[in-house]
Every structure is written in structure tokens, then in C-alpha cells.
């Protein structure tokens, strides 16, 4: 389908890191069912603040699933600091671009990661 790049279709058809991470220490969820997309990110961050493992679950369109998948690949093995600097543009570029009206999917991916790291920080600081 010409709507999406081959890379988007690859990540949509064969999503990487999909599922639940039982021992996650940072979980973030963004979006809502009324808008038609929800992304949930599970992070396992070690004592050196490295993202050891990551998984996602997504309710949404093809580009939402592909954006989540790509985002997990981009942050796996990276430091928390590096993950926080990941922009939606970087996610979209790694997917060889998204149609203009689908850019919000990459925004959701960026926000989901930030939300999961925020959760991790709150847990670490004993706020949760």
C-alpha cells in the first residue's frame, strides 16, 4: 500500500518489542480511546539508568503501531537521558517518513516514552 513507506509497513506487520514487561519499573500510557489511539510503554531501567528492556502495547492505526515499534528500537539499550532526547521527528525519520496527518502517531510515541520515564523517576523518588 502506497499510503506508508516500506519501513512503516515492516514495523506494522512485524512489530518489535510488542507485549507486556512484567518487571517494568517505568510504565507510561498516552492517548485515549475516544481519539482512537492509546500507546503504553513498559521500561526496565537498571541501576546505571540504562534501558535494559522495553515493550509496548498499542491500540491504533498502522502508523501508531509502527511508531511505537520503532520508538522501542531507538531507545533499547540507551540511557534514560538519551531516551528523553528522542523526538517525534526522529521516530518519523527512522520510519522513512509518515504522511502529514499521521505525524501525531510519532508524537504519541515520544510522549509515551517520556511518560514511562516520568513514572520511573516518581517510583525512584518514592512518590509512588
Amino acid at each position: 500500500m502506497a499510503l506508508y513507506s516500506d519501513k512503516v509497513m515492516d514495523h506494522f506487520r512485524n512489530p518489535r518489542n510488542v507485549g507486556v514487561l512484567e518487571d517494568a519499573n517505568g510504565i507510561g500510557e498516552v492517548g485515549n480511546p475516544v481519539c482512537g489511539d492509546i500507546m503504553k510503554m513498559y521500561l526496565k531501567i537498571n541501576d546505571d539508568e540504562i534501558i535494559e528492556d522495553v515493550k509496548f502495547e498499542t491500540f491504533g492505526c498502522g502508523s501508531a503501531i509502527a511508531s511505537s515499534s520503532m520508538a522501542t528500537e531507538l531507545i533499547k539499550g540507551k540511557s534514560v537521558e538519551e531516551a528523553l532526547s528522542l523526538t517525534n521527528k526522529a521516530v518519523a525519520e527512522a520510519l522513512d517518513g509518515l504522511p502529514a496527518h499521521k505525524m501525531h502517531c510519532s508524537v504519541l510515541a515520544e510522549e509515551a516514552i517520556k511518560s514511562a520515564i516520568d513514572d520511573y523517576n516518581k517510583r525512584k523518588n518514592g512518590e509512588k
Binding site: 500500500m1 506494522f12 500510557e29 482512537g36 500507546m39 503504553k40 498499542t58 491500540f59 491504533g60 492505526c61
Partner: protein, 397 residues
């Protein structure tokens, strides 16, 4: 397996329709307004096509206007009735909340001009009760426009009864019959219809050609100005090949409506029963009063576009009313009109069959949809929340 299950979007042209067009491109390509032989032959073909369409619809040939399709016919019908009404001070128009955008957007334009547009509730069934029309008609009602069959969910409206009420009250009645023609019996005399819109590509004819039927006492307003074609009401050189293809397709599609229904309805019902077994799914629109080939379901916990892409991978062409496929932020206005909440409307699937569908293909559709829905639900946090009771289900299991 390859299954084209989006016949409500458009259809494959029939060989007969294609063959009917070719002579009017290769040999009789003259302009019907020209006086030499191949022009006049084209003119004769055009007029014979008009007679044949009139025979199918049960009206007079001069009540048939050829257009570029259903949207143009809808626009012209509604604008014409509005102008006629306005001259007598009538500026109230009755329609429904789930019309095609060709109707709704035209009505919005009229609203900006000061018309009062009343959209009737279509209930959870997707059906209008004729009594609603009777109650809504006022002294200043210029037009009632209600679709014959809905393009997304396939419900068929009680057009004959609605037409009768309008006829008795002296109000112009237009129906967008784009989805109905060739699928259910349509007769403008029997159904008390004053104006009707058709589109050829919905019944195995070519794209870019349609019909506006308007009773002879209705003075049309031009949408396209120019030459004196179509009794001066629609300018532009007639699309003779398209019209010839349309007429061939129209006659084929209407000659055995009962046989078509008899063959297709059991297969459609098998599809409905199969999809209904998927947990937390529901048919959209009334079960009985529906087109023989149209099935529309909502599945909780998933989004329609990803469903379509994965079905495409399995060789199935279908459509959805999700926001992502409509290109807007909101899901289908039709699904919202029948009361589906946004989160459920995003997970809709329309399968519209053609009469060459087989039982084996129906089985494949059911299995494939079931597999894809299950797969997408397994990665959906929304579905997880529904299963764990974090969010309430909308449908029963």
C-alpha cells in the same frame, strides 16, 4: 485468496458495460450536438439511453438528466428544490443525520444561506420512521431528502411510505439512491419519488457518470453553466461512452433483483452470523432492512485502519469508518448517528459483497477477520483494560 469486499465504494465494471462503451469511443465518437452522421448517431444513442433509463426507473425519458455522478445529482437536486422553495418563502429542509456528504455538505451550504435544516434521528437501527417525516413537515418545508439505502451500514429506508407522505403534503421528495440501485427494487412512480440520484460505478458501470431523475414539473437550477445540453440544465458535452456503459450495467443490475437477493442474502447472513460470534462485536444497523450485500460491524478494543491493512495482507479489500481512514479526527458520522460511541466507532469494518461471492469466500472472510481482530486485541492496551474491567465494555460478549 483475493476477495474484493468493498463494492459499496465502487464495483468492477461488467464486460457487458465495457463492450457497450467501446463503439462510442472508436466509431461513433461524434459530438451529439454536431449535425453530421456520427454526431447524430451519438445523439440517437444518447436519447435511446435516456429511454432505457426511464424504463428502468418507471418515468418519462425527459425526466432523466445525465450527470457526472451521484454527487453532482445530489447537489443539483437539493439546490434546485431549495431555490424553488425559497421563491415561495419556504426555507425548511428535512433530511437525516446519516446522509452521504454530497447531501450533508450541500445542506450545510444552504444553511449558511439562511435555510433551516432539520436532520431526523436515525435511531440505533439506522432506520427512519415515516411518522418522523410526517411530524417534521411544516407549511414552509421546501424539501425532504432521505437516502434510499445507507452507504456505510446498508440499511434500507421505508422510501415508499416517506414518499407517500411527501406527495400527500405537496412537499418535494428527493432520494439519494446511489447505494440502492441494482441492489433493491427502485421505482420512482411506485415509491412516490420526485427526484432521485444515481451513480453508475456502484452497479458495475463506469465511473464519472450518473443520473438525476427530476419530475417534469420540477424546474432545475443549473450547477454547471454553458451549452444547452440536457435540456439546458446541465452544460457540457455528454459523456456518451460512459452513458452507454451505464445503461448496459443498469439493465443488467435490475433485470433480476429478486434472484440477486435470493442468492446474496443467505451468504450475507452467514457472514453476519460468523462475525457476530467474535466476542464483543456488534452488527451496525437493522438486521433485516438492509442491502443484500452490505455488512458493517464494530469490534471493541481495536482500530479500523490497522484492521484494514492486515486484511489487505490477506487479500481482502474492505473499508472502515475509523477516524484514521476518514482522514478527520472523528470517526464516521453514520456510526455516530446510530449512537455508537467514538471508541467503538473507530473499530468498524464494512464488507460489501458482489453477487459472485462464494460460500468458501465467506468462510475465509469470517476466519480472516476473526484472526486479525484477535491479533490486534492482543497488542491493544485498550482491550486489556476492557478485559480487566478497568474500562467498561460497550457490547455484550
Amino acid at each position: 485468496m483475493k476477495i474484493y469486499a468493498d463494492n459499496a465504494a465502487t464495483t468492477k465494471m461488467s464486460r457487458h458495460a465495457i463492450d457497450a462503451m467501446i463503439p462510442y469511443m472508436e466509431e461513433i465518437y461524434g459530438n451529439p450536438s454536431s449535425l453530421y452522421e456520427i454526431g447524430q448517431e451519438a445523439k440517437e444513442a444518447l436519447e435511446s439511453a435516456r429511454e432505457r433509463v426511464a424504463r428502468v426507473l418507471n418515468c418519462e425519458p425527459r425526466e432523466i438528466y445525465f450527470t457526472s455522478g451521484g454527487s453532482e445529482a445530489d447537489n443539483q437536486a437539493i439546490i434546485s428544490a431549495a431555490r424553488l422553495g425559497a421563491r415561495k418563502g419556504k426555507k425548511h429542509i428535512i433530511s437525516t443525520a446519516f446522509e452521504h456528504h454530497a447531501v450533508l455538505h450541500t445542506l450545510n451550504k444552504l444553511k449558511e444561506e439562511g435555510f433551516e435544516i432539520e436532520l431526523l434521528d436515525v435511531h440505533s437501527t439506522g432506520l427512519i420512521d415515516p411518522k418522523q417525516v410526517e411530524d417534521a413537515i411544516r407549511e414552509d418545508t421546501a424539501l425532504v431528502t432521505i437516502m434510499y439505502a445507507n452507504n456505510e451500514i446498508g440499511t434500507v429506508e421505508p422510501i415508499r411510505e416517506i414518499g407517500k407522505i411527501c406527495r400527500d403534503k405537496g412537499v418535494i421528495f428527493h432520494t439519494d439512491a446511489v447505494q440502492a440501485m441494482g441492489h433493491v427494487s427502485v421505482d420512482v412512480a411506485r415509491d412516490n419519488i420526485d427526484m432521485l440520484s444515481l451513480s453508475a460505478h456502484k452497479f458495475h458501470g463506469p465511473k464519472g457518470v450518473g443520473v438525476l431523475f427530476a419530475k417534469k414539473n420540477i424546474m432545475l437550477t443549473n450547477i454547471i453553466e454553458g451549452g444547452a445540453q440536457e435540456r439546458g440544465k446541465r452544460a457540457g458535452t455528454e459523456n456518451v461512452p460512459g452513458i452507454m456503459g451505464m445503461v448496459a450495467a443498469l439493465e443488467d443490475a435490475t433485470k433480476d433483483i429478486d434472484g440477486y437477493a435470493k442468492k446474496l442474502i443467505p451468504l450475507r447472513d452467514k457472514l453476519i452470523e460468523g462475525l457476530d460470534k467474535i466476542p464483543y462485536s456488534e452488527l451496525n444497523g437493522d438486521r433485516e432492512h438492509r442491502l443484500p450485500g452490505t455488512v458493517n460491524f464494530c469490534f471493541e478494543g481495536i482500530e479500523g485502519e490497522s484492521l484494514l491493512l492486515l486484511l489487505d495482507d490477506k487479500g481482502i479489500s474492505a473499508s472502515s469508518g475509523s477516524a484514521c481512514t476518514s482522514g478527520s479526527l472523528d470517526p464516521s458520522h453514520v456510526l455516530l448517528a446510530i449512537g455508537r460511541p467514538h471508541e467503538v466507532a473507530h473499530g468498524s469494518l464494512r464488507l460489501s459483497l458482489s453477487e459472485d461471492i462464494t460460500e468458501e469466500e465467506i468462510d475465509y472472510l469470517i476466519t480472516s477477520v476473526n484472526e486479525v481482530v484477535t491479533y490486534l486485541r492482543n497488542m491493544s492496551p485498550f482491550w486489556r483494560d476492557l478485559v480487566n474491567g478497568v474500562r467498561p465494555h460497550v457490547f455484550k460478549e
